[in-house]
Protein backbone atom coordinates (compact mmCIF):
# COMPACT_ATOMS: atom_id res chain seq x y z
CA UNK A 1 0.00 0.00 0.00
CA UNK A 2 1.49 3.31 -1.06
CA UNK A 3 1.58 6.49 1.00
CA UNK A 4 -1.16 8.18 -0.98
CA UNK A 5 -3.52 5.27 -0.40
CA UNK A 6 -2.64 5.27 3.30
CA UNK A 7 -3.49 8.97 3.62
CA UNK A 8 -6.66 8.54 1.54
CA UNK A 9 -7.77 5.68 3.77
CA UNK A 10 -7.53 7.84 6.89
CA UNK A 11 -9.31 10.75 5.17
CA UNK A 12 -12.14 8.50 3.95
CA UNK A 13 -12.49 6.86 7.37
CA UNK A 14 -12.63 10.28 9.06
CA UNK A 15 -15.27 11.55 6.63
CA UNK A 16 -17.38 8.41 7.10
CA UNK A 17 -17.29 8.63 10.90
CA UNK A 18 -18.04 12.38 10.76
CA UNK A 19 -20.98 11.79 8.41
CA UNK A 20 -22.36 8.91 10.45
CA UNK A 21 -22.28 10.91 13.69
CA UNK A 22 -24.00 13.85 12.03
CA UNK A 23 -26.69 11.60 10.54
CA UNK A 24 -27.44 10.12 13.96
CA UNK A 25 -27.54 13.60 15.53
CA UNK A 26 -29.96 14.79 12.83
CA UNK A 27 -32.30 11.84 13.19
CA UNK A 28 -32.13 11.94 16.99
CA UNK A 29 -32.93 15.65 16.99
CA UNK A 30 -36.06 14.87 14.98
CA UNK A 31 -37.21 12.70 17.89
CA UNK A 32 -35.97 14.78 20.80
CA UNK A 33 -36.44 18.49 20.16
CA UNK A 34 -39.57 19.95 21.82
CA UNK A 35 -41.17 22.13 19.12
CA UNK A 36 -41.95 21.41 15.46
CA UNK A 37 -40.07 24.43 14.15
CA UNK A 38 -37.01 23.33 16.17
CA UNK A 39 -37.37 19.74 14.94
CA UNK A 40 -37.26 21.12 11.41
CA UNK A 41 -33.65 22.19 11.91
CA UNK A 42 -32.12 18.86 12.89
CA UNK A 43 -32.64 16.79 9.69
CA UNK A 44 -32.35 19.64 7.22
CA UNK A 45 -28.95 20.78 8.46
CA UNK A 46 -27.25 17.94 10.33
CA UNK A 47 -28.46 14.99 8.25
CA UNK A 48 -27.73 16.79 4.97
CA UNK A 49 -24.19 17.53 6.12
CA UNK A 50 -23.80 13.89 7.15
CA UNK A 51 -24.91 12.47 3.81
CA UNK A 52 -22.79 15.02 1.94
CA UNK A 53 -19.76 13.90 3.92
CA UNK A 54 -20.45 10.23 3.10
CA UNK A 55 -20.83 11.09 -0.59
CA UNK A 56 -17.51 12.97 -0.70
CA UNK A 57 -15.89 9.98 1.05
CA UNK A 58 -17.24 7.71 -1.69
CA UNK A 59 -15.89 10.06 -4.37
CA UNK A 60 -12.38 9.98 -2.87
CA UNK A 61 -12.61 6.18 -2.50
CA UNK A 62 -13.41 5.63 -6.18
CA UNK A 63 -10.75 8.16 -7.23
CA UNK A 64 -7.94 6.55 -5.23
CA UNK A 65 -8.75 2.83 -5.04
CA UNK A 66 -10.62 2.22 -8.30
CA UNK A 67 -8.76 4.82 -10.34
CA UNK A 68 -11.79 6.50 -11.88
CA UNK A 69 -13.34 9.89 -11.20
CA UNK A 70 -17.01 9.49 -10.33
CA UNK A 71 -19.00 12.70 -10.72
CA UNK A 72 -22.32 11.22 -9.60
CA UNK A 73 -21.55 11.77 -5.93
CA UNK A 74 -20.83 15.45 -6.50
CA UNK A 75 -24.10 15.73 -8.44
CA UNK A 76 -26.08 14.06 -5.64
CA UNK A 77 -24.37 16.25 -3.02
CA UNK A 78 -25.11 19.44 -4.93
CA UNK A 79 -28.69 18.35 -5.53
CA UNK A 80 -29.26 17.55 -1.85
CA UNK A 81 -27.65 20.81 -0.70
CA UNK A 82 -29.81 22.76 -3.15
CA UNK A 83 -33.09 21.04 -2.32
CA UNK A 84 -32.78 20.86 1.50
CA UNK A 85 -33.62 24.60 2.03
CA UNK A 86 -36.57 24.36 -0.38
CA UNK A 87 -37.93 21.34 1.46
CA UNK A 88 -37.46 23.09 4.81
CA UNK A 89 -39.29 26.19 3.57
CA UNK A 90 -42.19 24.14 2.28
CA UNK A 91 -42.52 22.16 5.52
CA UNK A 92 -42.31 25.38 7.57
CA UNK A 93 -45.05 26.93 5.43
CA UNK A 94 -47.22 23.85 5.88
CA UNK A 95 -46.66 23.99 9.64
CA UNK A 96 -47.53 27.72 9.72
CA UNK A 97 -50.63 27.00 7.68
CA UNK A 98 -51.76 24.29 10.10
CA UNK A 99 -50.96 25.79 13.51
CA UNK A 100 -50.47 29.57 13.36
CA UNK A 101 -52.78 32.48 12.53
CA UNK A 102 -51.98 35.93 11.18
CA UNK A 103 -51.82 37.39 14.71
CA UNK A 104 -49.19 34.92 15.93
CA UNK A 105 -46.42 36.12 13.64
CA UNK A 106 -44.59 39.46 13.94
CA UNK A 107 -45.20 42.20 11.33
CA UNK A 108 -43.13 41.92 8.20
CA UNK A 109 -42.33 45.63 7.98
CA UNK A 110 -42.31 45.75 4.18
CA UNK A 111 -45.91 46.78 3.48
CA UNK A 112 -47.26 43.37 2.49
CA UNK A 113 -48.49 40.60 4.76
CA UNK A 114 -46.88 37.21 5.24
CA UNK A 115 -47.56 35.44 1.96
CA UNK A 116 -48.85 32.34 3.75
CA UNK A 117 -51.63 34.32 5.47
CA UNK A 118 -52.42 36.93 2.82
CA UNK A 119 -55.66 36.02 1.00
CA UNK A 120 -54.97 38.49 -1.79
CA UNK A 121 -51.58 37.16 -2.78
CA UNK A 122 -51.45 35.09 -5.94
CA UNK A 123 -48.63 32.88 -7.03
CA UNK A 124 -47.89 35.02 -10.11
CA UNK A 125 -48.10 38.78 -10.47
CA UNK A 126 -50.96 39.61 -12.92
CA UNK A 127 -48.64 42.01 -14.70
CA UNK A 128 -46.29 39.13 -15.48
CA UNK A 129 -49.18 37.01 -16.80
CA UNK A 130 -49.94 39.66 -19.44
CA UNK A 131 -46.30 40.28 -20.24
CA UNK A 132 -45.99 37.96 -23.23
CA UNK A 133 -43.58 38.10 -26.12
CA UNK A 134 -45.11 39.52 -29.31
CA UNK A 135 -46.13 36.75 -31.71
Amino acid sequence: MTGVEQIAEYVIAGLLVFGGIFAVIGSFGLLKLPQMMQRLHAPTKAATLGVGSALIASMIYFLVFEGKISWHELLITLFLFLTAPITATFIAKAQMHRTLTKDDVPPTGVGTEWATFDPNVTSVDPYLLNDRDPV
Binding site: I12, G20, S27, G50, K68, F79
Partner: protein, 90 residues
Amino acid sequence: MILTYALDFAFLCFGLGLAMNLYRVFVAPGVTDRILALDTMVINVIALIVLYGMRTGSGINFEAALLFAMTGFVSTVAYCKFILRGDIIE
Protein backbone atom coordinates in the same frame (compact mmCIF):
# COMPACT_ATOMS: atom_id res chain seq x y z
CA MET B 1 -8.35 -2.16 7.63
CA ILE B 2 -9.46 1.05 9.30
CA LEU B 3 -11.64 1.69 6.26
CA THR B 4 -13.63 -1.49 6.92
CA TYR B 5 -14.35 -0.46 10.48
CA ALA B 6 -15.27 3.09 9.44
CA LEU B 7 -17.62 1.70 6.78
CA ASP B 8 -19.26 -0.57 9.35
CA PHE B 9 -19.65 2.37 11.72
CA ALA B 10 -21.23 4.50 8.99
CA PHE B 11 -23.64 1.68 8.06
CA LEU B 12 -24.62 1.41 11.73
CA CYS B 13 -25.12 5.16 12.11
CA PHE B 14 -27.23 5.61 8.98
CA GLY B 15 -29.26 2.48 9.80
CA LEU B 16 -29.91 3.78 13.30
CA GLY B 17 -31.01 7.12 11.86
CA LEU B 18 -33.33 5.29 9.46
CA ALA B 19 -34.89 3.35 12.34
CA MET B 20 -35.46 6.56 14.32
CA ASN B 21 -37.06 8.19 11.27
CA LEU B 22 -39.33 5.16 10.81
CA TYR B 23 -40.45 5.46 14.43
CA ARG B 24 -41.18 9.15 13.80
CA VAL B 25 -43.26 8.31 10.73
CA PHE B 26 -45.51 6.08 12.84
CA VAL B 27 -45.55 8.09 16.10
CA ALA B 28 -45.73 11.82 15.46
CA PRO B 29 -47.58 14.80 16.94
CA GLY B 30 -48.52 16.24 13.54
CA VAL B 31 -48.56 15.52 9.85
CA THR B 32 -45.65 17.86 9.10
CA ASP B 33 -43.45 15.75 11.38
CA ARG B 34 -44.30 12.72 9.27
CA ILE B 35 -43.38 14.54 6.05
CA LEU B 36 -40.09 15.65 7.59
CA ALA B 37 -39.36 12.11 8.78
CA LEU B 38 -40.05 10.71 5.29
CA ASP B 39 -37.71 13.30 3.76
CA THR B 40 -34.98 12.37 6.23
CA MET B 41 -35.54 8.68 5.46
CA VAL B 42 -34.87 9.41 1.79
CA ILE B 43 -31.62 11.18 2.73
CA ASN B 44 -30.49 8.29 4.92
CA VAL B 45 -31.34 5.70 2.26
CA ILE B 46 -29.27 7.64 -0.31
CA ALA B 47 -26.33 7.45 2.09
CA LEU B 48 -26.89 3.70 2.56
CA ILE B 49 -26.95 3.13 -1.23
CA VAL B 50 -23.67 5.02 -1.61
CA LEU B 51 -22.06 3.10 1.26
CA TYR B 52 -23.19 -0.17 -0.36
CA GLY B 53 -21.53 1.00 -3.58
CA MET B 54 -18.29 1.58 -1.66
CA ARG B 55 -18.47 -1.86 -0.07
CA THR B 56 -19.08 -3.72 -3.32
CA GLY B 57 -16.69 -1.47 -5.26
CA SER B 58 -19.13 -0.87 -8.10
CA GLY B 59 -20.49 2.45 -9.30
CA ILE B 60 -23.69 0.99 -10.71
CA ASN B 61 -25.80 2.18 -7.75
CA PHE B 62 -25.20 5.90 -8.12
CA GLU B 63 -27.83 6.43 -10.79
CA ALA B 64 -30.32 4.83 -8.42
CA ALA B 65 -29.21 7.19 -5.64
CA LEU B 66 -29.58 10.22 -7.92
CA LEU B 67 -33.07 9.16 -9.03
CA PHE B 68 -34.00 8.48 -5.43
CA ALA B 69 -32.89 11.98 -4.40
CA MET B 70 -35.02 13.53 -7.14
CA THR B 71 -38.17 11.51 -6.41
CA GLY B 72 -37.75 12.17 -2.69
CA PHE B 73 -37.58 15.92 -3.23
CA VAL B 74 -40.55 15.96 -5.59
CA SER B 75 -42.67 13.80 -3.28
CA THR B 76 -41.91 16.01 -0.26
CA VAL B 77 -42.82 19.16 -2.17
CA ALA B 78 -45.99 17.54 -3.52
CA TYR B 79 -47.06 16.44 -0.03
CA CYS B 80 -46.46 19.94 1.40
CA LYS B 81 -48.28 21.50 -1.53
CA PHE B 82 -51.22 19.20 -0.91
CA ILE B 83 -51.39 20.27 2.75
CA LEU B 84 -51.06 23.96 1.86
CA ARG B 85 -53.52 24.13 -1.01
CA GLY B 86 -55.57 20.92 -0.99
CA ASP B 87 -54.31 20.23 -4.48
CA ILE B 88 -50.94 19.51 -6.07
CA ILE B 89 -51.17 20.92 -9.61
CA GLU B 90 -53.70 23.72 -9.81
